[in-house]
């Protein structure tokens, strides 16, 4: 798990592990909430794959091809040994590890560091990890 990152990034507790669905995605709203408005917020997709290493992935929920927030509702698909999510609208594959679109490598979704703190799911939405 992303142990190293914990000390360097701004972690936000998002939800409990029981909110995740194994081998599938859920969606969460993250970002600065101090204004009380949601417009500064981002919706991200969380994928929990118990059999993989790492087990947890956070990736932008917005499908850039369809411009709709649907990535969390895609199917997890393994392509040439790599885990991806296939968009439910037009089926492009996005690599879970780095967000790159396999059909068009110029398109990339933001990805975020994730971690479990006990049962709690943490996501860092600070500057992207390299």
């Amino acid at each position: 798990m992303n142990q190293v990152a914990i000390t360097h990034t701004q972690w936000q507790p998002i939800c409990q592990q029981s909110d995740l669905v194994a081998d599938s995605g859920v969606c969460a709203l993250v970002g600065d909430d101090s204004s009380g408005k949601t417009s500064g917020k981002k919706s991200i997709a969380l994928f929990f794959i118990p059999g993989a290493e790492p087990q947890l992935y956070a990736i932008d929920n917005r499908d850039p091809f369809a411009n709709a927030g649907v990535i969390a509702r895609g199917i997890v698909a393994e392509v040439d040994g790599e885990l991806t999510v296939s968009s439910p609208l037009y089926k492009q594959h996005f690599r879970l590890s780095d967000g790159v679109c396999l059909e068009d490598e110029n398109v990339k979704l933001a990805t975020y560091p994730t971690a479990f703190d006990g049962e709690t799911v943490l996501v860092s939405t600070g500057p992207e990890e390299s």
């Binding site: 998002i14 939800c15 909110d19 995740l20 669905v21 194994a22 081998d23 599938s24 859920v26 969606c27 969460a28 709203l29 993250v30 949601t38 417009s39 919706s43 969380l46 059999g51 993989a52 917005r62 369809a66 411009n67 709709a68 927030g69 649907v70 509702r73 895609g74 199917i75 997890v76 698909a77 393994e78 392509v79 040439d80 040994g81 885990l83 296939s86 439910p88 609208l89 089926k91």
Partner: protein, 841 residues
């Protein structure tokens, strides 16, 4: 560049083939093309004309499409016959007065039916059998008739007799010669054919000459030579064809003694700028009354116009066909007229099989053959004949029944490269081998690339052999794997899941797969599991396998919102339920539309609203409509006998029964059905996977129709079924499809790929040839018995409901889903509109 002016007169099968060939070549650009077509529609498939009576429409039979000609840039003048050719000024004039000049002229005027000049032959109840209009007229006349007579016992005459029988008439065939099909068959074959056809209820009057036709008491009396007579309601003349050469004659082109436009090996007439092709052309004093030789002439002529060399040196007239259900085949010199010819004959009177081979004096070469009752040997014998392959030591083995299975078979490998496999499209074994070597690795791809087997279809078995053998020779294995994670076909996986009683994806993956699965295998396996065990899609092990629509039991729209489609079985709905739909739509501000499937679709629900909406609908008595699943969609109905003055059965009740029986069934692709109350077919059952049409005596069952991208007319599968048998057949049919189809394969494509086609399907479903019908029925009973409304289960299960939260960490809605109003209803906002709404100016 000045284009050459090319005129084609006649848009029949051969004329069309000529234009299609030309259009496929780059040289097309060198010509300005004008086509005169005497018929009111462009070319259609005359070879399959009789299927018009069996339910195929004029559209189904169409070969040339008006748009197609437009795309090619060819001018098509419909309903406008050419009436004269001015060879000096090279101008063609038409009936409507159009005058067109040409550099090159193609005559493809075909032929017309010969009507013997018997007094009375012009009576309005006398018909011929050549065009769609002829068939319309015969059909109309048959409605008030009980008896029909065909004059002429040749190939076409027997086909016409069959048509009369199918129209419900008592059918007679009157033949002048001593036997039927005298052109193709020898005496023995012809005799046996007559017996068989009489057994089927068609009366044959051989050696009978008609002397007079007269009206008597509103019917027709036929007076035969020798004081015999016959009374009938209509007469169809099928006494041979005559080349349509009037135009050529008046233009002064050379004709044969008994008609036909004389052509040379380059298909040129006596005028070097004028060509003749198809049934109007006379080559070597011979008219070729089949379509394949005409196609060869058409192709050759295109080549010649493009500056290539191509010679027509005659064509093979062998035929294999099924007449009134009797198989008949004739190859080469069927009568053994060649010098020194020897014959070997096999007759089995018990099962009604007659076969005869004609060999040369040494018994080394096959000169001809005749077979009636069994044409299984036809393909093989034809190859011996066409390719001059030396016959085996004991040639009789080729036609004798295989006593110990040891009859020598001629593998595709024994054929020379030049062997013609498909005569309709002149595709040789070499062409096929080349296409396989060029990368085609399935039968379908070879068909697309070479057009082999896309004409009469007679060569399909042989084509498959050649393709299989060539693939094997290249060490290629056809890859039908589902995806990289499962080296198996869908059918194999279905079998494994069933036999090993596998209940989850993970278990299957562990036993038979590799890796982690993908968006192809996961939904496919989920569908198989559902077809077999019918567990809720949201049961833990299945939930990650589904496409989004299945997961959320709704169809995702382009902005991430969903549509809601409650089931409205048979399209029947009470006013109260209709009001509920309106109330729910209003409350949640949903866009409302009547669908093409006779129900109402509510669009624009946000994910988190779906459970609430469904709770209200379910409380009002609605169930899920499975619009999201590869499952039964709708059973369309017409109002039927309850209200409609024409209805002969209660089609709504049947549609309700059928929809309620099969709702929820998961299948390789969606399934649509319809039930019509009479032949007027207001429910469009013939475009559905399963179509039911009421008859006076019960129901006719149609299968494997399709609308959508590649429409296909359903095939008539069984007739006059009672309710129980109808349901039994549909049970079996659906389960057999569910078991054996490929992923995302509609029933239409499935049938087209099924070896043995419709006949085989009938054997499996009706005759239980595979002995699986009990099992298929039991499997269906299990599905029917375990049905649950998935939405009803879901709204009562808090665990499942968790899945419908937009965000796991807040109850806020997705603010990016924005609607604007149009025509009084909401619709998804366009991107620019969203920007405007977000930052008001």
């Amino acid at each position: 560049m000045v284009k050459q002016k090319l005129i084609v007169i006649g848009n029949g099968m051969v004329g069309h083939h000529f234009l299609e060939q030309l259009a496929s070549r780059p040289e097309k650009e060198l010509f300005d093309v004008t086509v005169f077509c005497a018929e009111p529609r462009p070319a259609y498939d005359r070879v399959h004309l009789s299927e018009y009576f069996a339910g195929r429409s004029a559209d189904d039979l169409a070969m040339g499409k008006i748009e197609q000609y437009r795309d090619w840039g060819f001018e098509l003048l419909l309903n406008d016959a050419a009436v004269s050719i001015d060879r000096k000024n090279k101008v063609v004039t038409s009936e409507s007065g159009a005058e067109k000049s040409y550099d090159k002229l193609i005559l493809a005027t075909g032929s017309y039916p010969f009507v013997p000049p018997i007094p009375g032959h012009e009576h309005e109840k006398c018909f011929v059998y050549r065009t769609l209009e002829d068939l319309d007229a015969i059909r109309a006349a048959s409605e008030k008739a009980t008896t029909g007579v065909v004059v002429g016992g040749g190939l076409l005459g027997l086909e016409a007799a069959n048509a009369l029988k199918e129209l419900g008439l008592e059918a007679h065939v009157v033949e002048f010669a001593p036997g039927l099909m005298s052109v193709q068959l020898d005496e023995g074959g012809s005799e046996l054919l007559q017996h068989k056809i009489e057994d089927l209820g068609v009366t044959v009057h051989a050696s009978t000459a008609t002397e007079l036709i007269e009206e008597k008491d509103g019917r027709l009396r036929m007076q035969f030579k020798g004081d015999r007579e016959l009374t009938t309601d209509l007469i169809v003349f099928s006494a041979g064809i005559r080349p349509e050469d009037k135009l050529a004659k008046s233009a002064g082109l050379q004709l044969g003694e008994r008609g036909g436009i004389v052509i040379d090996e380059a298909c040129r007439t006596s005028d070097g700028n004028i060509f003749a092709i198809g049934e109007c052309a006379l080559y070597n004093n011979f008219i070729y009354g089949l379509v394949a030789p005409g196609y060869t002439m058409a192709r050759n002529t295109v080549s010649i116009l493009c500056g290539e060399e191509a010679l027509f040196t005659g064509a093979d007239m062998s035929t294999k066909l099924k007449l009134l259900g009797v198989q008949v085949g004739s190859i080469g010199d069927a009568h053994g007229r060649a010098e020194g010819a020897a014959a070997i004959t096999f007759v089995d009177e018990q099962s009604g099989v007659y076969k005869r081979m004609i060999t040369d004096a040494e018994g080394k070469q096959l000169l001809g053959a005749v077979m009636v009752g069994d044409t299984d040997d036809y393909d093989q014998l034809l190859q011996y004949h066409l390719n001059g392959i030396e016959l085996p030591e004991q040639p009789e083995q080729l036609i004798l029944p295989a006593a110990d299975g040891a009859a020598p078979t001629l593998g595709a490998g024994a054929l020379p490269e030049t062997a013609t496999i498909c005569s309709c499209h002149n595709v040789s074994k070499g062409d096929i081998v080349q296409s396989v070597q060029g990368g085609c690795c399935s039968l379908g791809e070879v068909k697309d690339a070479t057009k082999a087997s896309t004409g009469c279809g007679g060569c399909s078995a042989l084509l498959k052999n050649v393709v299989d053998e060539e693939l094997a020779a290249l060490g290629m294995e056809v890859n039908n794997d589902l995806c990289p994670h499962f080296p198996h076909t869908r059918q194999e996986i279905f079998h494994m899941v069933q036999v090993e009683e596998i209940k989850t994806f993970d278990e299957l993956l562990e036993k038979h797969g590799r890796g982690n699965g993908c968006e192809i295998c996961k939904p496919t396996v989920a569908s198989i599991l559902a077809s077999l065990w019918n567990e809720h899609v949201h049961e833990k092990p299945h939930v990650g396998l589904q496409d989004t629509n299945d997961t959320f039991m709704a169809n995702m729209q382009k902005n991430g919102s969903y549509s809601v489609v409650p089931r409205v079985p048979g399209g029947e709905i009470t006013p109260d339920k209709l009001i509920v739909l309106g109330q729910v739509a209003k409350k949640y501000d949903l866009y409302t539309k009547i669908t093409g499937g006779q129900r109402v679709d509510l669009f624009g629900a946000r994910l988190e609203q779906l459970p609430e909406i469904w709770r209200e609908l379910i409380d009002a008595g609605f169930e899920t409509g499975h619009a999201y699943g590869k499952a039964l969609r709708t059973v369309k109905s017409c109002v039927g006998s309850t209200w409609c003055r024409f209805g002969v059965q209660d089609s709504v009740a049947m549609a309700l029964d059928v929809e309620n029986r099969y709702k929820g069934l998961r299948s390789p692709h969606k399934i649509k059905m319809a039930v019509s109350g009479c032949t007027r077919e207001c429910a469009e059952a013939q475009s559905k996977d399963v179509g039911v049409i009421a008859t006076e005596n019960g129901w006719n069952l149609f299968v494997c129709g399709n609308g959508g991208m590649r429409p296909r007319h359903a095939d008539l599968f069984a007739t006059d079924l009672d309710d129980e048998t109808l349901i039994k057949y549909i049970d079996r049919f659906l389960m057999f499809y569910v078991r054996t189809a490929d992923k995302l394969q509609r029933t239409s494509v499935w049938l087209e790929n099924l070896d043995g086609g419709l006949d085989y399907l009938r054997e499996v479903i009706i005759d239980d040839k595979l002995g699986i019908c009990d099992e298929l029925e039991a499997q269906m009973a299990n599905i029917v018995g375990t049905y649950q409304c998935e939405w009803k289960t879901a709204i009562n299960d808090p665990e499942m409901l968790k899945r419908f939260r937009q965000f796991v960490n807040t109850d806020e809605p997705d603010e990016k889903i924005v609607f604007v109003e149009e025509r009084g209803q909401p619709r998804p906002a366009e991107e620019e509109e969203i920007v405007k709404i977000a930052e008001p100016a």
